[in-house]
């Protein structure tokens, strides 16, 4: 069921290699890839969930082989073509066939500070009933799947599917990524912080009191009893 990006708990990846705090980018083109991606966001053709989904649907072979910013760039090119902003001919030739009707939305340099400072909050006014309270025991969906689109975007990791945890925080209503990534509207739902004992998730937890905490939408959850 799980897709290539959903790697929590996986074995075989080797050591984590620390690096100094002063190292922000690792190649000259990395900051450019970041900036082009952020600037294209201002064209208003997708949301954060669409762009996460675009990275996740790279082929497993590409996803595993690409570096972080290679994934960003490949997903950006895919989205620009999917939304009709660029044509695959333009991409292949390396030059524009003509101006774009979206040029009026171009991010100007004097607008950058404001756009980055405003961000894109995901909370929304309450629209549905809140089913759970802090302290409630809940069980996650048996399969970490998108209920609208087979193989679609979801934020329930496979390692936490079908697991019992307890609600520890209420975050209000947030945009549902499973819907927003697929053009199905925002469908805001209550979002909860849920704590799972490590022993519920792993065959050999490191410590009896360890926990893993996830932020999960109401439709991912059912009462545990």
């Amino acid at each position: 069921m799980s897709r290539v990006h959903d790697m929590g708990g996986r074995f075989g990846d080797g050591p984590v290699v620390p690096e100094p705090e002063t190292e922000v980018f690792h190649a000259d083109w990395h900051p450019r890839a970041l900036a082009v991606t952020l600037a294209c966001g201002s064209l208003g053709q997708w949301n954060i969930d669409t762009s996460r989904h675009a990275r996740e649907r790279l082929s497993p072979k590409d996803y595993a082989a690409f570096s972080y910013y290679e994934k960003w760039t490949a997903a950006l090119a895919d989205m620009l073509v999917d939304k009709g902003v660029l044509t695959s001919e333009e991409l292949a030739s390396g030059h524009a066939a003509g101006p774009s009707s979206l040029a009026t939305r171009k991010l100007a340099s004097d607008a950058v500070a404001g756009v980055l400072a405003r961000g894109g909050p995901a909370d929304r006014p309450a629209q549905t009933d809140v089913h759970f309270a802090v302290g409630d025991e809940v069980r996650t969906r048996r399969h970490a799947h998108n209920a609208f689109v087979d193989g679609g975007h979801t934020r329930l990791p496979d390692y936490a599917a079908g697991a019992v945890g307890r609600i520890v925080r209420m975050h209000g209503h947030h945009v549902l990524p499973d819907a927003a990534a697929h053009g199905l509207g925002e469908q805001p739902e209550p979002l909860y912080g849920v704590a799972f004992p490590a022993s519920e998730l792993w065959a050999r937890p490191e410590h009896p009191r360890d926990e893993v905490l996830l932020d999960l939408w109401q439709s991912y959850l059912e009462p545990a009893t």
Partner: protein, 185 residues
Amino acid sequence: MRVKALETILTEKGLIDPAALDEIIDTYENRIGPRNGAHVVARAWADPAFRAALLEDATAVVSELGYYGRQGEHMVAVENTDDVHNMVVCTLCSCYPWPLLGIPPGWYKSDAYRARAVREPRKVLADFGVTLPEDTAVRVWDSTAELRYLVIPKRPAGTEGLDEAALMDLVTRDSMIGTGLAITP
């Protein structure tokens, strides 16, 4: 390079302004980074009322310091104690509190960290040279939604007389992700 080709096409189409790209890069290379988070942590160590407010509503408190923005719209601060050590990961992508810590380090985005942090946090901590006391539990926060987590590391012993600026120097980026501890002077 592929991104260079994309930039050329998009500029020719009038969709991006290279000066805006320079501005974005300058922001994350020079203006927004882990010193923002260190400022918040040092103040939390020095000021009990600030600490309490930060634990209650981190978004409001860091906004007042000017640290609101993209990828930091919904902040939660979690505090390390003798009993609990907090660690932050995003197993599904690489979500990270940009306005407080800047662009995530390479290891935070690596497959190894994303795969292992939730299942064997102590072994990951060992890769950073960190060993926890046996009776300390680990809470790993997997950033699956738009909430972003800041770890408040334990204040090192022997720092009682230090002011906020001196305390800031003890707060490393990794200590605010939970893969490191604050520096003991």
